[in-house]
């Protein structure tokens, strides 16, 4: 457990707006550049309007009542020579030199009122540093927890993979069902250098009433670097995640998998962008959405191929399954190409469950509910079965089974 107790409790956002941020910052011992960043972010937060996201329901949402607190519940890693896995406060004291050019790239990539507030108020998170030529076999596990109704957490995951290194980082977002809204504004900055490989899993399984609104950014700045990213949205009330894989290094490669399951009144939005910049980069985006009850799932995805990104090969898919007549999904796979020697494809499907599949399974003796569950699990298994950590795979399967 990290030493969060050293940090002072903060007043609610509404009170901070009157009392100002200075008093809070005065009690900190942080690098000066970080304090400057906080001041700028706080100014930006105050100046900005609420973002207008057509498909994200922020009616009745107000920042004022949320009280910032700490989000790390657990860091699990037995340790390995040279590998740093530290809570952010300790890391900032010990090795700010390894962090300063990477910390906050996700906030800079998507400036809005939420990321600005994160930039001003974030207190904890996890720094993962893998030195050159080091292969980390054991997955690094992080659990972020929303402790109670009214709380706001700003968990920040920072991963730097040096050349020829390899690592798996798993972050899980959890909470109980909450009686009133609580807010998580996550940020993830992931830097992948030459020929390094990062596997990143981000699983959101909050209880009722959690808002999960943030930005995650993977910078594939190294040549021949590889990212494998699996994201799952299963819980909470509203999710809006803006995400980007920036394929800057020549020959860099991205595999991106997602599962989004919105039921009850959940509104879960994924907005992934895969940006091709270097030569001969490859990207594959494959998401699955399931909606039931009055759930609303959104896949607002984009392949962006920048000028000069010759030899790009990219594909983006989202398939949605509708289980209830009132459930909705929107799939907006976009394509913007400013280079000429590229291969790119995108597409989406959506539709109800195939009754012939259900009948086929029932004809073998499976009760209807079980047949339905099997078809739905089959639909998402192409994504879920790739979760390389067994207990997490089983937990995700159980969470989904409970929603069907």
């Amino acid at each position: 457990m990290p030493a969060n107790q050293e940090l002072p409790q903060l007043p609610a956002v509404g009170e901070l707006l009157t009392s100002g941020l200075d008093k809070v910052l005065a009690g900190r011992t942080e690098p000066a550049w970080l304090t400057d960043n906080r001041r700028n972010a706080w100014k930006a937060f105050q100046a900005m309007e609420m973002p207008f996201w057509r498909r994200t329901n922020l009616r009745q949402f107000s920042f004022d009542l949320f009280r910032p607190t700490f989000g790390i519940a657990e860091i699990r890693f037995t340790g390995q020579e040279g590998v740093i896995v530290r809570d952010m406060q300790s890391a900032l004291r010990e090795r700010p030199d390894l962090m300063d050019d990477a910390l906050g790239v996700s906030l800079d990539a998507r400036p809005n009122k939420f990321t600005a507030l994160h930039g001003a108020l974030w207190q904890d998170g996890v720094f993962v540093y893998v030195p050159k030529n080091v292969v980390v076999e054991e997955p690094i596990r992080i659990v972020y927890r929303l402790p109670e109704a009214g709380a706001a957490i700003f968990p920040h995951t920072l991963v730097v993979a040096e050349p020829n290194s390899s690592v798996t980082v798993v972050e899980e977002f959890v909470s109980d069902d909450l009686s009133d809204p609580a807010l998580c504004i996550p940020a993830a900055d992931i830097i992948v250098n030459d020929n390094a490989e990062v596997r990143f899993l981000s699983v959101q399984s909050f209880g009722r009433n959690a808002f999960h609104i943030g930005s995650q950014f993977v910078s594939m700045r190294g040549k021949d670097s590889r990212i494998w990213w699996l994201t799952a949205a299963l819980g909470g009330r509203v999710q809006h995640l803006e995400m980007e894989i920036y394929l800057g290094g020549n020959g860099s490669h991205a595999d991106w998998l997602g599962v989004n399951y919105a039921n009850e009144q959940q509104n879960l939005v994924y907005a992934p962008i895969i940006r091709h910049v270097g030569l001969h980069t490859e990207g594959s985006v494959n998401f699955r959405s399931v909606v039931d009850d009055e759930g609303y799932a959104v896949f607002d995805g984009l392949i962006k191929i920048e000028k000069g990104a010759q030899g790009t090969n990219s594909d983006l898919r989202d398939n949605a399954l509708h289980l209830g007549p009132k459930a909705r999904s929107d799939s907006i796979p976009g394509l913007e190409i400013d280079a000429n020697d590229v291969k790119a494809g995108h597409g989406s499907t959506s539709g109800p469950i195939d009754p012939e599949q259900v009948f086929y399974l029932r004809s073998r003796g499976l009760p209807e509910a079980e047949a339905l569950r099997m078809v739905v699990m089959g639909f998402i298994s192409e994504v879920v079965d790739q979760i390389p950590v067994e207990d997490l795979h089983d937990r995700v399967v159980d969470l989904i089974a409970a929603k069907i």
């Binding site: 195939d354 099997m374 078809v375 699990m377």
Partner: protein, 262 residues
Amino acid sequence: MNNDLVIKNLHVEVDGQEILKGIDLTVEQGKIHAIMGPNGSGKSTLAYTLAGHPRYEVTEGEVWYKGQNVLDLEPDERARLGLFLAFQYPVAVAGVSVANFLRAAINAHRAEEGVDPRKTAIPVAEFRKKLRERLQLLNMDESFARRYLNEGFSGGEKKRLEILQMAMLEPSMAVMDETDSGLDIDALRIVANGINSIKEQRPEMGILLITHYQRLLNYIKPDVVHVLMDGRIVREGGPELALELEEKGYDWIREEVIGHAS
């Protein structure tokens, strides 16, 4: 207990059109019955109706099996009663492996009301052993069990999977809808041998073979042959009737039936 499957005056409509116009048919326990008939005679309608497909609407008649009116039962209840339909066109279900599906299906058969399903579930080792044996019986590679249900299967593989399911679920009454269709002669032989091996192991099982052609009956010897035409059973006989149909086609029966009718 009498474990014959008894069909009485069965009338069935599909999309408002009457396809079966009063079928009377008894499939005896332990016997192999064949239903032959030309295209459009109602063979598949009979198969789907017995399995309880919602598209097929029974307007009149009864189907009795093991003391229950099958028509009152849900499709899965029929299966758990021991009825099995080998589909003419098996359905693909992506993401569901053959092994997981078979285990779930077996456990559904073993489940008892009010008992924790973990108590009645087949032990994993026992399931694996049974699966391995049945795969061998049907000349199927073990990798088959890891594939997704019918996903990307060839016609022959789909039919073999139907037989594998039958071998695993051990029904007491199997309805096989054109299990020979789309198979070349080698695949047909493998499938037919599989059915015969299962029948040898379980002589009490009744089989209703639905087929257009006689060729399947060269490998699986029926005890009784019924001819279905225009929604009615118009002829019944021994195995020799199948040979006669092979030789002379269906037209002579049609003429006779129309002759009788007029």
